[in-house]
């Protein structure tokens, strides 16, 4: 079994939905019992602050990683990236939306967008698989996929055999592995928070942080409803809900339109002048305004009800139904953004600024999108009386 072990972190659904909890626990328990994976459970990923024990735990993990959560894979991936949990994008079969017409091979737009972004930085040589738990209600689906991934990435492991020994395969022969060979060194002893192994299945890292809690929320782990087997929630179950933008750097071109648009000081730049969501908690709950301003749809609000804004791969069209919103008077993205921002400004006791401030200056129109989108963009600008 040691030959095919992979690290799995389950990000809980916010709230207490019993169906979701059950799915999470089923997956965790079965994976642990079968010894396929090292499993741990953290509260809803998106709500974790950088210093939350659950996030620190994620940061401490090395090697290939599967993260399951109630978010679109893009959202999972870039929330992790923002918190320094970095890796190459692993492709899970579960994330391939069953293309009704499989012959529809090309998604030129997507590819163009993807290849033009500034990309993530400091990406280590490991894979991170992000999987949306809304894909399917059947735990078996996830178990199968994780077994497949475990096989895929498995390499002979060196058994380290004492506490803290997470056995993680490194990515087989793909780029510069940490120590040149495909052994599992480097997977451990990397400053992981001190923890003891729950010897039982040899794979349970449960309960480690059940009373260590760095952000002052209720520090008690939820008591597992499946005795012995279901891992405790790292850092405790109750986490304050948050709302903030997440940048997909595979798309972001660093054009700075978001930083110009946001009047709440959410955005900043890092030491190499890359755009950064700096003051996450300055963002206004429910407001997705800047995501509409971003010319390449790189800004994700993982909890927004519109799939396109929440990080779904394609556009906002649901269920292959036609979206008639444009016909029925939908504002352009920019008009919408301005309306939303004004609402938040007024709610804050400030004056609405309308279209007068921080609107994109898109004279260069770098956009290679379809002619239609361009038309809409122009219409939007015209009606804003710029």
């Amino acid at each position: 079994m040691a030959g095919r072990k992979i690290t799995v972190v389950i990000s809980q659904a916010p709230g207490k939905n019993p169906v979701k909890r059950h799915l999470e626990e089923e997956i965790a328990t079965r994976l642990m019992l079968s010894g396929t994976a090292e499993v741990s459970v953290v509260p809803h990923l998106y709500d974790l602050t950088a210093d939350h024990t659950g996030m620190l735990w994620l940061k401490s993990l090395r090697g290939n990683l599967v993260v399951l959560g109630w978010l679109y894979p893009r959202a999972i991936r870039w929330v992790l990236d923002r918190n320094g949990v970095k890796g190459k994008e692993g492709e899970s079969r579960l994330n391939r939306i069953e293309d009704a017409d499989a012959d529809d091979q090309e998604h030129p737009q997507e590819e163009v967008a993807a290849s033009r972004g500034i990309g993530a930085i400091d990406v280590p040589n490991r894979l991170i698989y992000a999987i949306d738990l809304r894909n399917d209600g059947d735990p078996e689906v996830y178990i199968k996929e994780i077994e497949r991934l475990a096989d895929l990435v498995s390499v002979p492991l060196v058994q380290l055999g004492f506490g803290g020994g997470l056995q993680l395969p490194v990515l087989p022969g793909n780029g510069p592995a940490t120590n040149g060979t495909a052994t599992a060194h480097g997977a451990n002893g990397n400053g992981t928070p001190d923890h003891s192994h729950n010897g039982d299945t040899g794979s349970v890292i449960s309960g480690i942080f059940s009373n260590g809690n760095s952000n002052g929320t209720n520090g008690h782990a939820e008591s597992p409803s499946l005795p012995m087997t279901s891992p405790a929630v790292i850092g405790g179950g109750d986490v304050r809900r948050r709302w903030y933008p997440v940048i997909d750097y595979s798309r972001c071109t660093n054009c700075m339109e978001c930083i110009d648009f946001c009047l709440f000081g959410v955005y900043g730049v890092d030491h190499s002048d890359r755009i950064l969501v700096e003051e996450q908690d300055n963002c206004k709950k429910g407001c997705p305004a800047c995501s509409r301003v971003c010319p390449v749809n790189a800004i994700i609000f993982p909890e927004h009800k519109t799939p396109g804004i929440a990080g779904a791969e394609g556009g906002p069209v649901e269920d292959f139904k036609i979206d008639l919103s444009k016909l029925f008077g939908a504002p352009s993205a920019l008009e919408m953004a301005v309306l939303e921002r004004d609402q938040e400004l007024v709610a804050d006791g400030r004056d609405a600024v309308g279209a007068a401030v921080g609107l994109p200056k898109r004279q260069t129109c770098q956009n290679e999108k379809t002619r239609d989108d361009l038309d809409d963009l122009m219409d939007g600008l015209d009606s804003l009386d710029l």
Binding site: V317, L324, F328
Partner: protein, 150 residues
């Protein structure tokens, strides 16, 4: 009553009654008491087809701005957000639709009205609305085709 105007959507005849006014976002409006009753035009209904679901996201008697989101609609073929057709006040919704949105299909110009609205903004005459349809038909077809081809 005079004959309605007709706009041809391919082979489909969209009737545009001349006893009322219109918004360019494909709603008709008829004075009713102090307010206007607003509903989908035949053009809109043809595109939607069978309406399954209608949900309003604002309370009755709410001041709205043009293009503000006020609800959602879903039909057999389409989904759409619903937007205020003009600056004004949404006074009340057609309760009958909440139980049975198919009235929109069965009787879009009368019992299938959506809400009562008051506005001081100018509306379109039937002729003007048909011109809007003529001008937009190409683009509508393109919109539909593009989405189908995705």
């Amino acid at each position: 009553m005079s004959e309605p105007l007709v706009f041809m959507m391919g082979k489909f005849e969209a009737r545009i009654p001349v006893d009322r006014m219109y918004f360019e976002s494909h709603f008709w409006a008829v004075p009713h008491g102090d307010a206007l009753r607003v509903g989908f035009t035949a053009y809109a209904v043809r595109l939607l087809q069978d309406v399954y679901f209608l949900d309003w996201q604002i309370d009755p008697d709410t001041q709205v701005r043009k293009k503000q989101t006020i609800g959602e609609i879903e039909s057999s073929k389409a989904v759409s957000t619903m937007y205020a057709p003009a600056d004004g006040r949404v006074i009340q919704f057609n309760e009958a639709l909440l139980n049975d949105p198919s009235l929109i299909n069965a009787d879009n110009y009368d019992k299938g009205w959506l809400y009562e609205f008051s506005t001081t903004q100018p509306l379109l005459s039937p002729d003007e609305y048909v011109k809007v349809l003529e001008a937009g038909w190409e683009q509508t077809q393109r919109l539909l085709k593009n989405q189908f081809n995705e």
